[in-house]
């Protein structure tokens, strides 16, 4: 039981990391990014390519994240920028198209075969009190999620760029009137959100395997997490991730594995029924 709880918390933080990027993009751009899983996948596959080229793990991870952010900036310029004033459904459909496009491009480049990325950490697990085993990589990923979340929170609340982002969230037109470069902020936010997905893809891809289809599974979890935690809320993503990870892990120990995903959906239904804005989401009134 202790092991299930510990594993659940750790995997939950990993889910939270995937969801963070999705939540940032939704919070600022108001885009439901269906292609988020594909940026996660790009992060993993680029890390695989770089590390199999001989780069060591952390430089390769940095390269994969930067590479994914560049792809995100290009895509923002080509696809999302022309649609800035379109309604949300159009943009959501565009990201759905992007998702299909990116996963097929990845199929062409990397092929359908899953690859393993060699972990920078020893394969021997750490034994914690209570006979709980956790791998070093799992713990690193969990710590990275917390650090990134804290960093994002500090940037948003205490820096000029954070204030600018919040201003754009509140009222895009007013922000533009007072001289903020709204387009730049959108582009940067999208790139950062996708970069976060790439970090998650790299770390989780190393834990599991990387292949072009890996994004779908991840994005479904990420959507579950943000719906439970609250769209656009960072702490909500972490709480949602932890809850989902715990429920799956503890539930998975007792339920047949086919039913494991039911836990997530039951949680979504309950949250939507009782608190539609998510556990930590706030009801937002937004001027457009």
């Amino acid at each position: 039981m202790l092991q299930d709880i510990a594993s659940g918390l750790v995997i939950g933080l990993a889910y939270a990391m995937i969801a963070l990027g999705l939540s940032v993009i939704f919070g600022v751009l108001r885009i439901i990014n269906f292609a988020h899983g594909e940026f996660y996948m790009l992060g993993g596959l680029m890390l695989y390519s770089l590390s199999s080229q001989g780069f060591s793990f952390f430089p390769a991870l940095a390269g994969a994240v930067l590479g994914t952010m560049v792809v995100a900036i290009v895509i923002d310029g080509l696809v999302l920028k022309p649609l800035r004033r379109s309604d949300e459904v159009t943009i959501a459909l565009a990201t759905l198209g992007l998702s299909i496009f990116l996963s097929n491009v990845a199929l062409v480049i990397w092929g359908p075969v899953p690859h393993q990325i060699v972990s920078p950490f020893s394969i021997d697990p750490l034994v914690l009190p209570g006979g709980v085993y956790l791998s070093r990589l799992e713990l690193f990923a969990a710590a990275a999620t917390l650090v990134i979340m804290l960093g994002m929170h500090l940037i948003l609340q205490h820096t000029s760029i954070g204030r600018q982002m919040r201003a754009v969230v509140q009222d895009r037109d007013a922000a533009a009137v007072v001289g903020l470069n709204v387009d730049m902020i959108y582009q940067m936010t999208f790139a950062v959100g996708c970069g976060l997905a790439a970090v998650a893809g790299g770390l989780l891809g190393t834990m599991f395997l990387v292949f072009p289809g890996m994004g779908l599974q991840a994005v479904l979890k990420a959507f579950a997490v943000v719906v439970i935690g609250g769209m656009g809320s960072f702490s909500g993503a972490v709480v949602g991730g932890l809850l989902l990870g715990l429920a799956e892990s503890v539930g998975g120990a007792w339920l047949p594995s086919g039913y494991k995903d039911i836990v997530a959906f039951i949680m979504i239904v309950v949250v939507l029924a009782l608190r539609p804005q998510g556990l930590l989401g706030s009801k937002q009134v937004r001027v457009r």
Binding site: Q3, P112, F208, L209, F211, G213, E248, S257
Partner: protein, 378 residues
């Protein structure tokens, strides 16, 4: 003028497109339904490589009286619905004279009625659900020994040689995994070994921590795994993550190059019972391996061999029947035999072959044969 010309061009294009699929008179079309995408793609692509190897070999040797064979491959994703669609397409559009299908037992089971509907011989060298050849399906032939046959020999090895008494079974949730557990339960019991815990997982699952932890807590003295390379690699990686040290006895892809690639050092020490391994020394296997290594890097894996045997069996039947008539092929398959790398392929009354079986143990990236059984004896 302009629009009528465009219409004409479109018509020509349409005719060209539809007739492109029709067979050219000088080639014999054969079909293969394999999972070239999805969670079994690792293995499926090897099957395709092996099948192509058999066809190239046949064509280079002159084909069938100068006629070359052409292999059409369709992706069945190891899913019943996609595999039936793929088989229908190969039979109706490519007009294949015989078919190899469809890797996973559940997918193969779905293709069987299609074979009967169109009366096309279907060869399978990978699926191991016993019910595929029991009762007899007249148009279906299997070169792969099924789980009951495997159980007979592997259970004895597990109980007598490895001395395991209580196993925790983690099996893929399809006809392959379920039939393995069902087939092994009674034979293991004969030797005084039991399953202390049985858990099924979905194809493509990534997080096995909770079921591995359940296995850890069950007090089992060994782990019984049934699955393919991708699932297997993740299970073994997470097995180490949980600090498990139980012996692992497996069925499936646990000695293939794809498994070694995906699992890395986590592959070490795993036992696997299959029709293939490293260091098989019968003449047919040696010939195949040396021919394979002239064209490909490395030792051929289980699924490359299986794809090769599936196609070779069809090609041998074509040669012996000296005809592309499907009924003649079927009756030839029923009586013929040939020496394959995995032993003699000869079909019994249920169209089931009894070949060699090898128990392998993974040592530094190789599945080394530790025991050989001839399942056609006794």
């Amino acid at each position: 003028m302009n629009s009528s010309r465009r219409l004409m061009l479109a018509t020509i294009a349409a005719v060209a497109l539809t007739s492109g699929a029709a067979i050219s008179a000088d080639k014999i079309p054969l079909g293969l339904v394999a999972p070239t995408s999805g969670s079994v793609a690792l293995d499926g692509q090897q099957q395709v490589a092996g099948a192509n190897f058999a066809v190239d070999e046949f064509n280079k040797a002159g084909g069938l009286g100068g006629k070359q064979v052409e292999l059409f491959v369709e992706d069945g994703e190891c899913k019943p619905a996609s595999s039936t669609a793929a088989a229908e397409k190969l039979i109706t559009r490519n007009e294949v004279v015989a078919l190899a299908a469809a890797f996973c037992s559940s997918a193969t089971k779905a293709v069987q009625p299609i074979a009967e509907k169109y009366q096309v011989p279907v060869i399978n060298g990978i699926s191991s659900d016993p019910s595929l050849t029991d009762p007899l399906r007249p148009w279906f032939f299997r070169t792969k020994i099924h789980n009951v046959i495997r159980g007979k020999y592997y259970a004895k090895f597990i109980a007598d040689d490895l001395k395991l008494k209580k196993l925790a079974a983690l099996a893929v949730d399809d006809d392959f995994g379920r039939s393995a557990v069902t087939a092994f339960t009674p034979v293991l019991k004969q030797y005084g070994t039991e399953f202390g815990l049985v858990r099924f997982f979905k194809h493509g699952e990534v997080n096995f921590i909770s079921i591995l932890n359940a296995a850890k807590q069950s007090g089992a003295d060994g782990l019984f795994l049934v699955g393919e390379a991708q699932d297997g690699a993740l299970i073994m990686k997470q097995y180490y993550q949980l600090g498990l040290k139980l012996p692992v006895v497996a069925l499936g892809s646990f000695n293939t190059p794809q498994f070694f690639d995906a699992a890395g050092s986590a592959a070490e020490g795993v036992y696997n019972a299959e029709v293939w391994g490293e260091g098989i020394d019968n003449a047919a296997a040696k010939n195949f391996v040396s021919a394979w290594q002239q064209k490909n890097k490395g030792y051929p894996g289980l699924y490359a061999v299986s794809g090769y045997i599936e196609l070779r069996t069809i090609l041998e039947a074509l040669k012996k029947a000296d005809s592309t008539d499907r009924n003649k092929l079927k009756s030839t398959l029923e009586t013929m035999s040939w020496e394959s790398p995995i032993g003699t392929i000869k079909f019994d009354a249920n169209h089931q072959a009894q070949t060699l079986m090898f128990v392998t143990k993974n040592e530094s990236g190789k599945g080394v044969v530790v025991a050989t059984f001839d399942t056609s004896k006794d």
